[in-house]
């Protein structure tokens, strides 16, 4: 098992490569947020019927975007550390909360705002950690 999951490169990725991974995941979270919003729109007129699901454009686009998201995540994971890259995905919650406020007129309260701030600070720290 240990040979199966050993690190491929001995030297490790350069600082520029790691920065690129962080940038890629951050863009990923925008795609993920768009996918979640589209899926939410698609789910509003959801009927459990195969034809209805396939012709549900927002739902379909949402799933397609998830595919793009996964692909970009894999590319980011090539060079980036899993323990740094993975928690950055939580940035998607920030975009979804903010977008829901504008698109669906969801409420935005102090708790949510504090949460958004904490997530963004946390992600900034992870991003800085990737530079070291």
């Amino acid at each position: 098992m240990s040979t199966l999951i050993s690190s491929p490169s001995t030297g490790g990725p350069s600082a520029a490569e790691r920065r690129r991974s962080v940038f890629m995941v951050c863009s990923c979270t925008l795609i993920s947020a768009a996918a979640q919003i589209l899926m939410k729109i698609g789910m509003v007129h959801f009927t459990p019927h195969l034809v209805a699901v396939i012709t549900n454009v927002p739902l379909f686009c949402g799933y397609a975007l998830y595919g793009v998201f996964t692909l970009m995540m894999v590319l980011a994971l090539r060079q980036g550390e899993l323990s740094l890259i993975y928690p950055i995905i939580s940035l998607a919650y920030v975009w979804v909360t903010v977008l829901s406020y504008f698109l669906f007129h969801d409420t935005l309260n102090p708790l949510k705002l504090a949460g958004i701030l904490a997530i963004m600070t946390g992600v900034a720290m992870l991003g800085r950690g990737a530079q070291q």
Partner: protein, 115 residues
């Protein structure tokens, strides 16, 4: 406070564990990429499969109970992933990682409470 059934909590927790293993397999597949067709390797397929499985668990879990309780529990998956990254990929626990993750968890709880 209507309470959240234990079954929902367990399903969502299960989803977070399954999803964290999805991340491990994606990483396993990612480091072996060379050329377009290498995207079709079993590790990435298992990773995507685990993610889909985790979303099924999650969807099942949130049918009952309060989303404000269940939603932040998904972020526990980040803790699992940190652990697996250390065990399987020998990634170090560093201060920015721990502090960053703690803030992310706090943020997820706050967003959940506010929902």
């Amino acid at each position: 406070m209507n309470g959240t059934p234990l079954s929902s909590i367990l399903l969502v927790l299960g989803a977070s564990i399954v999803g964290s293993f999805g991340a491990v397999f994606l990483k396993l597949g990612a480091v072996r990429l060379s050329g377009f067709w290498s995207l079709l390797n079993w590790r990435l397929a298992v990773g995507v499969g685990l993610y889909l499985g985790s979303s099924v668990f999650y969807g099942w879990g949130i049918r009952h109970g309060q989303l404000s309780v269940l939603f932040p529990m998904v972020s526990i998956g980040y803790v699992w992933t940190l652990l697996w990254a250390r065990i399987f990929f020998h990634e170090r626990f560093t201060r920015p990682k721990i502090t960053g993750l703690a803030l992310v968890l706090l943020g997820c709880c706050l967003v959940g409470l506010g929902s």
